[in-house]
Symmetry: C2
Amino acid sequence: MSTPQDTTALDVPSRAPARMDTPAPGDPRLARLSLNQKTVDGWSLRTAVEACAAHGIPAIGVWREPLAVAGVDAAAAMIRDAGLRVSSLCRGGFFTAADGAERRSRHDDNLRALDEAAALGAPCLVLVPGGLPAGDRDLRGARARAAQAVADLVPHALEVGVRLAIEPMHPIFAADRGVVSTLAQALDIAEPLPTEAVGVVVDTFHVWWEPGIEDQIARAAGRIASYQVCEWITPLPPDALLSRGMMGDGHIDFAHLSRCVAAAGYRGDVEVEIFNAEVWEADGHAVLDTLARRYVELVEPHV
Amino acid sequence: MSTPQDTTALDVPSRAPARMDTPAPGDPRLARLSLNQKTVDGWSLRTAVEACAAHGIPAIGVWREPLAVAGVDAAAAMIRDAGLRVSSLCRGGFFTAADGAERRSRHDDNLRALDEAAALGAPCLVLVPGGLPAGDRDLRGARARAAQAVADLVPHALEVGVRLAIEPMHPIFAADRGVVSTLAQALDIAEPLPTEAVGVVVDTFHVWWEPGIEDQIARAAGRIASYQVCEWITPLPPDALLSRGMMGDGHIDFAHLSRCVAAAGYRGDVEVEIFNAEVWEADGHAVLDTLARRYVELVEPHV
């Protein structure tokens, strides 16, 4: 394993010169930074955990697939032994199947995901709502099923002490991934349910464009379970799923949105979650150095 | 020019067998169908006009660039002589420049666009709001400039009798093309302004995902200046700008949205506007045959 000092002072994937020194491990500005594991998609959970420790990133957002490879108990011990905390478990959800048996199977899997989150000490389980079933054009129906499925998970969430975090997703994904399209809509689903059981994710990529987002973030006070940052870049990369950018390379006003999130009282970790082919191709340590710099420059002063 | 009878009975671009006979010219089900010129991007205005007449499509949505090539007066005469009407002129707008001189230049160009629309007898000028200026991350500022620019055009719109039609655009375009992202937001801009001067475009591609779209379309009663149909398809084609599909090939419930538009009292033309590389590569007459069939199958019974 290389160390942070080996990395170049070029940002990735832009190859622009770094605009500041890389914050060293222990820098207090890193105290709330979390690496969402998907940002270094090629790494095992162990490699990601070791890299976070080496780079001074104190938290990690864990994905279930690599977690299954590592084993939940072994992973929990490994993360604890590295001195890290888990900021979220990604991901539950996929609530929208038209078939009742499939929905029950998803419910059971979401119960297991809540148990895994509890075992990791994760405060929340991120819920990706799911898209329209094949051939189904009833968006309102799919949205109603998603809302009901969240409600059905509340008792177990309360029992294990893990919060359900509804993730509104950019409308680019409304058909095939997430039928909850705005923070307003996520809050409409969350508000009738207990605050301690159901929150929302504010992910800058997904909600930066939402008219009135300031009002909705304020409305989310007490409900923000996770704050995730990544960038909207243009031209949009060809694969819509991998269209997220490094903070500072695109169009989002991170200072503004971060101030809104802070004003709503959020004091939790800030996850950097980037799905992007160029980021995934880059050296993972250079990715961590870049995101630490960009976070400290663009997000941390405001959050 | 080939004639409609030369076209195959395969739909384009899906190459699936046609699901119904192509409606013949004079079929009353075609009475409100309009071809937006961009759907046959390779054709001149003259070719598009002649093809509409040959296929029995009684209206056309005209774009300014080919209109400039044809000449406004010559185009107006040609369209009139072919027995067609103009359903809209596309497009004005691009309101969001940070530079005042550039905004004044755009204002003047929009005045000319209104004059052109009047010369063509078009009931409305479609307004594409414009995106964020390069390096500018102040989305609220850009949105405020767009709203003000619409208001500034009202006197001339009233004078020439052409309605300004604000087009909310899918959030995929919020950064680089259209900062008005929802029908709700478009109506917020339109409502303080005179109904006869300012309306909105309901384009299925742009608004199908909007939570509460039914309520917003109802709210738009009297304000719907144009109803445009095209499809949201997955996987999304690599070029986001060309990601629109043929009705029936994707995820949109055209019956539902068309019923909402009809219930709001809209009785105008229904434009088919598809930006898609495969559609543009196909034979234009096959495109017209397919869209006429799909319109009669999926839209016309409900609108």
